[in-house]
């Protein structure tokens, strides 16, 4: 896949979605035909509590311009309280992002239910817009597209 010379730079965003809520939200966005930038690549996990900082920072090191951590609304976790653990880990990841010299806008946390398709699409739109302004991530290895 070679990008055309004249094509505008588009950010590439990796989203980790839980099977029950946010992945369903992305599905609902599709069903509702909520158009959004083609910047997002979703990786499905069963619970947002499965999202390991290892996965998030590997995504940055591989070239992600932003990473989204998403899951069920607090109180709605299919596994009782997995997303509370996500929240704790996310706080740690926010600190790490700063330590690495990345802009905080490159890491986002959002709770999106399976019915919130419009919210999902708006979230993708907003983050893409923010990252477009920031330009490519400074952690992006040379030659990555």
């Amino acid at each position: 896949m070679k990008m055309a010379e004249n094509q505008q730079w588009e950010p590439k965003i990796v989203a980790f979605c839980c099977n029950w809520c946010s992945y369903g939200g992305a599905d609902t966005a599709g069903m509702g035909r909520f158009q959004q930038p083609a910047s997002l690549r979703i990786i499905r996990v069963m619970c947002s509590g499965r999202i390991d900082p290892l996965h998030v920072f590997n995504a940055f090191l591989e070239g992600a311009d932003a990473v989204l951590v998403t899951g069920c609304h607090l109180g709605d976790c299919h596994y009782v309280n997995g997303n509370y653990k996500t929240q704790v880990r996310y706080d740690f990841m926010e600190d790490m992002v700063r330590e690495l010299g990345l802009e905080p806008e490159r890491l986002h946390l959002s709770w999106i239910s399976a019915s919130e398709g419009e919210k999902f699409a708006n979230f993708v739109r907003e983050v893409t817009e923010q990252v477009r302004k920031l330009g490519p991530s400074t952690l992006k290895p040379e030659g990555v597209n």
């Binding site: 896949m1 070679k2 990008m3 588009e10 590439k12 990796v14 099977n19 029950w20 809520c21 992945y23 369903g24 992305a26 599905d27 966005a29 599709g30 069903m31 035909r33 909520f34 158009q35 959004q36 083609a38 997002l40 690549r41 979703i42 990786i43 499905r44 996990v45 069963m46 619970c47 509590g49 499965r50 999202i51 390991d52 900082p53 290892l54 996965h55 590997n58 995504a59 591989e62 070239g63 992600a64 109180g75 709605d76 976790c77 299919h78 596994y79 009782v80 309280n81 997995g82 653990k85 880990r89 239910s113 399976a114 019915s115 919130e116 699409a121 290895p141 030659g143 990555v144 597209n145």
Partner: protein, 649 residues
């Protein structure tokens, strides 16, 4: 495991995918990826011919992994897992890539970008597929009992159907009587037959059925476990009346000196006592004491010939073993009080549709006489305003679906009872689908009921408590000022607090409108995403009586599949520990909300039956000893690494 030999199948889904994405280009690209032995495009991969092609390809090419790029795994993963299993592959060697909901449908105008994204999603999927390993699904026994939460008409039907199939049903109702909202109604559309006359016998049938254990005035406290093996804790609220000996004679009620508004059954019109029988047709027909207003005078106790009043009674609890759960927890009618819609709560003669139901009901507080609350006189001019709390961006966006019909019904009843009355219905749209409903609308017009298309802008009160309603007739562009004696707000339905409570206990999803969300809007309308839990009635969304009854039966049918088989298949996705690497530090143990992990004799022990496969514990493991099957680090990182490629100069 042998070297990966992956077959890739790109679905066009008719034009759903094929109309946006260049599927052949994606298939060609997939063919260049490592371990991909063959790749092809199908018109409909999930069709019989599409599935046959997959099975044939597995045989012809000796494939040991299959990737389908199509729609969402939420609906189609089980279909393709079964397909590869029929061809002799372990179902967990199947990988799904969503290029419809997550690609073609959301990038309809950007065909090149969508094709490029589809290629990348397939590349990520192939990398994960090459690392998949076979897993075993677990078969769990199913306890042959059902729990139905909520005994309105939907729940009663569900309980009866399951009971008549021969299974034990626990029917739990938070109110002192079963019957739900339907018990409060006067007549039912479009037949105008008496609501309680058709509901009453059903209520008795529920109470008499040997397989139904009725638990009224009871609430669900906790639900634990999973399909086939739910542990349910129920609180039985103290009635302060011994239900075994009480006969519902009502002598105690007569002697009770405390009078409070009857909010439970009569919408606050009229009074009830501190000890009361919910309504004349209540099942069970037993008294209940409202201790929040009781003055402990003992009059009821002295009046009771069977010594049934027991003021020392405490709440009791039951622990139930349940196989399947049906939720029909009901709804609330929209309350216009806080926002004073159309003067409700400010002017006495503005009432809701449900209040009118109680006024017009022969067994209601006025014996069926429709009166103005301000002076208790029959109104001559009555207006209805439709869509109150419905189809309104500031309230609820959805249509409540039954308000048009109940307004038509009540308008007809008023015209029948008071032939010299004038009745106006102010509406945005009249919505009357289903059999005999449109005819019912015609009948209302024939009876002289006046229809004004327009939503009133202003309601004011006259000196004599009459109401002036200003409304634009949007068909004629006339501004009309109506003088009315009584204004009825056709309020819609909203999800109730008790439904929300149950929802949180069960972890069922909620839709944007607040009602419970089904697993699929078309094909799984009463299933939830949770195995063994089903939803019906208005707790799932606004609907009329026949629709609620149908859903009750549908829930029973869906639930009884598990009961009849006596077993359920649960996911093979659980966590696994590598004891060679595990240092038994125990950091994972408190992560598990299901108590599946423990350190026993310096060694991590996993109880597979308790593990639900969330993988939260695996993240906590500092050594990488603990891995979640099917979502192992190497599998997820393979996806991460393949989002991106290096440009080769």
């Amino acid at each position: 495991m042998d070297e990966p030999r992956i077959g890739v199948f790109i679905c066009e889904c008719g034009v759903n995918i094929g109309g946006v994405i260049d599927c052949q280009a994606v298939a060609d690209y997939a063919g260049t990826l490592p371990d991909v032995i063959r790749s092809s495009v199908n018109k409909y991969t999930c069709s019989d011919s599409g599935q046959s092609e997959i099975k044939q390809a597995i045989k012809d090419n000796n494939l040991n992994r299959v990737l389908v790029a199509a729609c969402t795994p939420k609906t189609h993963e089980p279909i393709f897992r079964a397909c590869v299993e029929e061809a002799g592959l372990n179902p967990y060697l199947f990988e799904f890539v969503n290029i419809r909901e997550h690609c073609s449908w959301i990038h309809m105008q950007e065909k090149d970008a969508a094709t490029e994204k589809a290629c990348e999603l397939v590349r990520m999927g192939v990398s994960r597929a090459s690392k998949l390993e076979p897993l075993q699904s677990n078969e769990v026994p199913v306890t042959d009992t059902a729990l139905v939460i909520g005994a309105g008409v939907a729940g009663m039907q569900s309980a009866l159907d399951i009971a008549e199939m021969g299974y034990k049903v626990y029917l739990v109702e938070k109110n002192p009587s079963i019957g739900g909202k339907m018990a409060q109604l006067d007549k039912t559309f479009p037949t105008n037959d008496c609501s309680i006359c058709i509901l009453g016998p059903k209520m008795v049938e529920v109470a008499r059925n040997k397989n139904i254990e009725l638990m009224t005035y009871s609430e669900i406290e906790e639900v634990d476990g999973y399909v086939g093996n739910f542990k349910v804790k129920v609180r039985h609220k103290a009635r302060y009346v011994d239900t075994d000996t009480c006969t519902g004679c009502g002598l105690c009620v007569q002697k009770c000196p405390v009078e409070v508004p009857n909010t439970e059954f009569n919408e606050g019109i009229g009074i009830r006592k501190a000890i009361y029988v919910p309504f004349p047709q209540a099942v069970p027909l037993r008294a209940v004491v409202d201790r929040s207003v009781c003055i402990d005078c003992g009059a009821c106790s002295r009046a009771c010939s069977s010594n049934s009043v027991v003021m020392e009674q405490q709440d009791t609890f039951s622990e139930l073993d349940i196989g399947v759960i049906v939720v029909t927890a009901g709804f609330d009618v929209y309350d216009p009080e806080p926002t004073h819609d159309f003067g409700y709560g400010l002017y006495d003669n503005v009432i809701t549709g449900m209040e009118l139901e109680r006024l017009i009901n022969a067994s209601g507080p006025t014996m069926g006489k429709v009166v103005r609350p301000s002076d208790v006189k029959p109104p001559k001019k009555v207006g209805f305003i439709q869509c109150v709390g419905s189809r309104d961006k500031n309230r609820n966006r959805y249509c409540s679906s039954f308000c048009c019909m109940y307004a038509l019904k009540d308008a007809q009843l008023i015209r029948e009872k008071y032939p010299d009355s004038e009745v106006y219905i102010m509406y945005m749209d009249m919505r009357t689908p289903f059999r005999n409903y449109e005819e019912f609308y015609d009948r209302a017009r024939d009876m002289g009921i006046r229809f004004i298309r327009g939503k009133p802008g202003k309601v004011t009160e006259n000196e004599d408590n009459g109401l002036k309603v200003r409304v634009e007739d949007t068909l004629t562009n006339d501004i009309i000022d109506l003088d009315l004696d009584l204004l009825v707000l056709s309020v819609g339905a909203v999800s109730s607090e008790s439904t929300e409570r149950i929802r949180q206990i069960l972890k069922v999803s909620r839709a944007a409108d607040g009602f419970l969300m089904e697993a699929h809007p078309k094909l799984k309308p009463v299933d939830t995403t949770l195995d063994g839990i089903f939803i019906g009635g208005v707790s799932q969304g606004p609907k009329d009586i026949p629709y609620s009854v149908s859903q009750g039966s549908a829930c029973a049918a869906r639930a009884s599949r598990y009961l009849a088989q006596g077993k359920a298949i649960t996911e093979g996705i659980t966590v696994e520990v590598n004891h060679d690497v595990c240092v038994a530090c125990g950091l994972c143990v408190p992560m598990c909300p299901f108590q599946a992990l423990s350190i026993d004799d310096g060694k991590l022990n996993i109880i597979k039956a308790l593990c639900k496969g969330c993988g939260t514990c695996a993240v906590a493991c500092p050594t990488g000893a603990l891995q979640q099957n099917h979502f192992r680090n190497d599998q997820l990182l393979a996806q991460v690494k393949n989002v991106f490629t290096f440009e080769e100069e």
